[in-house]
Structure formats: C-alpha cells, structure tokens
Symmetry: C2
Subunit: 110 residues, 2 copies
C-alpha cells in the first residue's frame, strides 16, 4: 500500500485524468479503476473522493448525469471543456514535480 501522506494533493489529478481517459465514470468505478491500475496499491476512500468530485463540479470542471440501474441511482461524471484542459495541465505538473523532486532525493553523499 502506498503511504497516504504522499497521495495528498494528487487525488484531484487522478480523478481528472481518469475522466479524461474514460469519458464518463461514476464514483465507485473510479475507486475500482485506481485500485486496478495501481495493482491494489492505491485505495481511494469515499470520504476523500466525494468531496473532491463535488468540489470539481462546483468549480465547473465536471458535470453530472444521473442514471438508474434497476432501482439503484448511479451518478456519472464527465469533464467539461475547462476540466479537460485543466486535467492535462495537472498531469504535466505532476511529472514536472517528480522530475524536480528526483534532483533533490537522488543525490547520495560523497
């Protein structure tokens, strides 16, 4: 399992990128997909995920549409235009961050 501390600040980016890749997804699906892509190492909790989704929606980065699967409500999230471009920026930012931090964490004593 990945240390939780490190995940801080990346949740938004993960959600945006998954939506950019998959068109539309619902909350539960997002947690499952992350678990799958990370080989079980990253497990998003709902208490963290839903506030992020609601915040992204409030900020106009994603839209929702409700669907009924039998009697069960399912809420699909889709990126808006601004959400899509923001997604790309966030992913670039992450890899830039990794490169930069690598300079700091790679050196070993002389």
């Amino acid at each position: 399992m990945i240390s939780n501390d490190l995940l801080k600040g990346t949740l938004r980016t993960i959600v945006l990128k998954l939506l950019a890749d998959n068109g539309r997804m619902y909350g539960y699906e997002i947690t499952k997909r992350v678990e799958e892509l990370s080989a079980g190492k990253i497990k998003l909790t709902f208490g963290a995920l839903y506030p992020v989704l609601h915040k992204l929606e409030a900020d106009g980065h994603i839209q929702t549409e409700v669907e009924y699967i039998g009697k069960r409500v399912r809420k699909y999230y889709t990126l808006t235009e601004t959400g899509r471009s923001w997604s790309e920026r966030k992913v670039d930012e992450f890899f830039d961050f990794v490169n930069t931090l690598t300079y700091v964490l790679k050196p070993t004593p002389a």
Copy 2:
C-alpha cells in the same frame, strides 16, 4: 514553481534525505539546499519546515546541537539511528509511489 499541493507529504522525506546525505544541517541551510537542488522550483517555507523538524525531533528521528556563530544561535540537526533507516524507507517509498502513480496517470484513451 512546483504546485504546493503536490509537495504535501514529501517535506518530511526531503528533510530526512538531505540530513542523510549531508550529515548535519541547520534549518536555513536546508531551505537553501532544496532551492539549489531543485533549480529554484521548490521553496520551503519556515512555517512548514520548523514544525516538521520539531516533530522529527520529538519522534526521535533527529537530534539537535546548538552552536554560536558570533552572537547568532545556529541549531544543527543530525539523524539518529532510527532516523537514518527511516530516511531510506521514506525515499524508497517515494519512488515506489511515483512508479505506481505513473501507471494511473500514463494511460491515454484508445
């Protein structure tokens, strides 16, 4: 400049690794070294750094010794035994985290 959100959770790791590489350092020196190693992209603030240093000390991962440079107090931090091994674990954890998140953030739509 690196997005602040992403740095969350890595501060501890940065401090531990720098101390592991450099033997002993003082707070101000740590911020300067990080700025230098990251080509100005990462700037630690004192409000973030000192609480981390104090916490690491309280947890027994680092020790301090005070020195006087003229009339100015300078506080040197050194890793303890547990701090040294924890440092290695934390750095490994970071790169593991990066690899894992790369699996999540790399895929593009079919």
